[in-house]
Symmetry: C2
Subunit: 554 residues, 2 copies
């Protein structure tokens, strides 16, 4: 009997972001994507979240390559961290994907070390003994692909992020012919993007954005300030073209957008009409009706260019009455509040803001329900695993697969770390491997553990209350202190009386603890101070600051 194929999502399944999938067979492993996730507000102080790669590190010698479907952060952003452990593992991607990857790795001084191998849609390639292929898909970044992997038990199709766009702006459709060919050879397993599994109907074409943008550019009495994702090359091209058609010249403002467009232009994925761009410094030299600005910050990120413009805090652009600000993106779930605050600030400055779901020129890069069903119907896979989605989206996507004919027992709703094993007897769940989150905070990767996070939450919620006392090692007598320092609890100026009474309690408590025949251990004194102070502060304030007793001996 042939060794079973193992399919193991290590990220992005049961969540949105940090996509990573491992395939194992015959002592070899292949990884598809290595994405990151941006932290929730409750992850205090965290910069990024990446997948736990314990499982990969334990099988270091098996890993033959990492295949990237496209150059978005949630598919590629963990690479600088993953490559620290696997510097010699080759990374496969299309030309633009590798170009943008190198731009990214340059910031981490890893660009020279990576073994990047360019792939092309339609041309087979090998990763170890896996025979792979790539087919073109439409998404909100150019040169995205879906991946096929031939295994001993049949062909696996990994959809990447995709939609069916019959009129894409860059002319590159999701490749129906390639999909039909793959289907004709038979599909063992389809793994497909569930980001919009809750949305009925079809996702509109990117071209629809152009129509709305055209209407806005023609009407706007002054400058048009548009904001979208830095990586949405096709969107940026559309905006510059339409602005030029209405006699506006465009300034691209913001380092990340500059980086993306620079790489895309160098690699031939982006061309602007002659003279359509201006430097941000030139904005104020042109009449307002001849200016268009493209920038980032559609997610309300507090440090983004748009947020700073909305607070009157940007070097080149001060938002003013007569400006039309266009939000050409949908807020990421969880960021709605941040975006709303930015919109409010823009209104306060007197700008017109186009931000509402119905009005804003934006379409998703992900397939909606009818497209998801169409892909399932084209490929007719024996097994189906929904990926890239929160749990409820996976459930919805699996139900669609069942609706179009996948036997219910062949549709697997699994989450990160679950192992799906497939061999000639069928497919089944076969245990769990380590998976989870690794926090990136400053230079530290993974050193912020759950317990550190709990401490942050605890001291952040009610503050800290520090009691320092120096005692004589021989006699146990207090020779200095107790000194009290408190932060984030109550304002220090208001706390004088409370602190003085707490000092007294500590002194009394110490005297009592030391009154026996033997001197108490330092640990005992510490516990005793902790108990006395915590109880007293809760009684007085109904709060639980973290109480930290420090005892020094001289």
């Amino acid at each position: 009997m042939t060794e079973a194929l193992r399919v193991i999502p290590l990220g992005g399944v049961g969540e949105i972001g940090k996509n990573m999938l491992a395939l194992e067979q015959g002592g070899e492993m292949l990884l598809i994507d290595a994405g990151l996730m941006f932290p929730d507000e409750e992850m205090l102080g965290i910069d990024l979240v990446i997948p736990d790669t314990t499982y990969l590190r334990e099988r270091r010698e098996k890993l033959r390559g990492i295949v990237l479907t496209h150059a978005h952060e949630d598919h590629m952003g963990a690479l600088p961290y993953v490559l620290r452990d696997f510097a010699d593992v080759p990374v496969y991607g299309t030309k633009l994907t590798l170009g943008l990857m190198r731009t990214k790795l340059r910031e981490h001084r890893l660009a020279d070390k990576v073994d990047g191998r360019e792939i092309t849609a339609g041309t087979p390639f090998s990763v170890g003994s896996f025979r792979c292929g790539a087919y073109a898909v439409c998404h909100s970044i150019p040169d995205a692909v879906g991946i096929t992997v031939e295994t001993r038990h049949g062909t696996i199709v990994h959809s990447g992020d995709w939609k069916f766009d019959h009129t894409p702006v860059d002319g590159r459709q999701t490749d129906f012919a390639a999909l039909s060919e793959i289907a004709a050879r038979g599909v063992l397993l389809l793994l497909s993007d569930s980001t919009r599994a809750e949305v009925p109907g079809y996702t509109p074409s990117e071209r629809h954005v152009g129509e709305l943008m055209d209407a806005i550019m023609s009407r706007a009495p002054g400058r048009v300030i548009t904001t979208t994702f830095a990586s949405n090359i096709s969107r940026i091209k559309q905006i510059v073209d339409i602005a030029a058609a209405w006699g506006r010249r465009t300034a691209i403002v913001g380092r990340s957008m500059e980086n993306y467009t620079k790489t895309a232009r160098e690699l031939g994925y982006l061309a602007f009409p002659e003279g359509s761009l201006i430097h941000p410094k030139e904005i104020d030299k042109l009449p307002d009706q001849e200016v268009c600005i493209i920038t980032t910050g559609s997610q309300g990120e507090p440090t983004s260019a748009l947020s700073r413009m909305a607070l009157g805090d940007h070097r080149h652009v001060v938002v003013k009455e007569g400006d039309t600000v266009v939000m050409s993106a949908t807020p990421i779930p969880g960021n709605e509040e941040l975006v709303s605050r930015t919109v409010d600030n823009l209104f306060k400055l007197g700008a017109e803001v186009v931000y509402e779901a119905g009005a804003r020129p934006h379409v998703s890069g992900h397939a909606s329900q009818e497209e998801l069903k169409l892909l399932l119907n084209i490929l007719r896979p024996r097994y189906f695993v929904p990926i890239h989605g929160e749990y409820r989206m996976l459930v919805r996507h699996a139900r669609m697969a069942i609706d179009v004919g996948v036997p219910p027992e062949n549709a697997f709703v699994i989450t990160n770390g679950d192992v799906l094993e497939i061999d000639e007897r069928g497919a089944r769940l076969a245990g769990k491997v380590p998976s989870g989150v690794v926090y990136v905070d400053g230079m530290g990767v993974g050193d912020v553990s759950q317990s550190v996070m709990r401490d942050r939450w605890s001291i952040g919620s009610d503050g800290i209350f520090l009691v320092v006392v120096t005692i004589d090692r021989q006699t146990g007598a207090v020779v200095a202190g107790p000194d009290i320092v408190t932060k984030g609890f109550v304002p220090e100026e208001d706390a004088a009386a409370l602190i003085e009474r707490t000092r007294q309690r500590v002194l009394e408590g110490l005297a009592e603890t030391q009154s026996g025949e033997h001197l108490a251990e330092v640990a005992t004194l510490r516990d005793s101070i902790h108990a006395i102070v915590s109880e007293y502060l809760y009684e007085r304030t109904k709060r639980h600051p973290m109480v930290l007793p420090v005892i020094m001996q001289v």
Copy 2:
């Protein structure tokens, strides 16, 4: 010339929540509503947010009364705190509003002290020398009213929270006849609810909920678990009635919902069919198809009954396969993520969940754009001030007022603390009074200042790093320490090397600082340790923990 009328929003204008409006004339002041707001996730450790009442306290002797429009928390929830300063000020409200207010004040042991004065829609009442009236409005809690106030310059109409529902479940419509009468006498100023100023069309009738709920109850193979706001009396009645019609008996689970329904039943605002209720303990005694459960937690609050059920952590209800969970509410902005997590957890337990915007049986209690315009057209006010909304909603609402004929210079988009002055010469902005937020944390009201909040955020984000050292007062020699304690920075077990090196740096730094002819001041030593440690830790980790040096002298 008559003294000008002053209209001063102290909360709820430029934000959603903590509604409070002051009206001043002739040395007298009247307050409409005293609401609270629930904290954002970033307000670490905060329980509630209430309006800053500095302005009221400075004019203590002027305040003649507080008029409540209805018994929701965002209109009444700050009362227990406001009454601490104004215990003798009478509070005016309808029968149910006062009943629910007393239930609330009982928790704060203030129920006996409050001077509650019942008002009835259609019956004029006086607050000081203000002649007031109340008219019935439909909202998501019974017995809600809009308020009219006669002033020397004309009639002010405060809409409260309202919608036009032609087929309300309790039969009590927003009173068109009363509005027409008010309009006939002329309206100086309309203040109207902007919560749904961004939503086109009409808000559907509460009866629509019944139709959707009926379909769900008829289809559900097992138990139906519905979740809505504890105060939505009409919704609760509909659910119990429909459940009974399908042969289901209903258990109301959760203390706050029990409290609301108890008060509403006692006061005659709620009646259930004979035998339609069961105690939560009896749930497991009935066949699943004969059970309906109503509970709270539609906002994903981590401690709510539904969240605990979704985690398998509730005393009476364990969610299981076959259950149908119905979210009969829209997530409050900012809570979408919490609600999604609860939905995911319910799916993981095998329940069917009805949660999507199109499918869930829920309608808003607030007027949409066409209703807002209708009210403006009925009342035809000379001046207009949109209230109850974030800034962009106020802008949208003001634009609608202008669209239906209010002169642009008479529509005022103002925010908390702005003073609108009206006299026979017209209306104008006349400065600002103190306004803002007061944080409630445990027993403390207002003692968590912005600086405490900043400290919480700072220590919560990167943790703290404590350096304690005892020195000889005479010689400046280190006699104990430096001891280092760190929390929320890096795990203590990983930090040993870093801590040891930091200790060395501190010792070297101290030696250097003390090497001069005079002993350094303690403050100088503290600054020096702070600088050395902060710099070293940032260099090593790119993090900024709060560094707290403590120097003790013996």
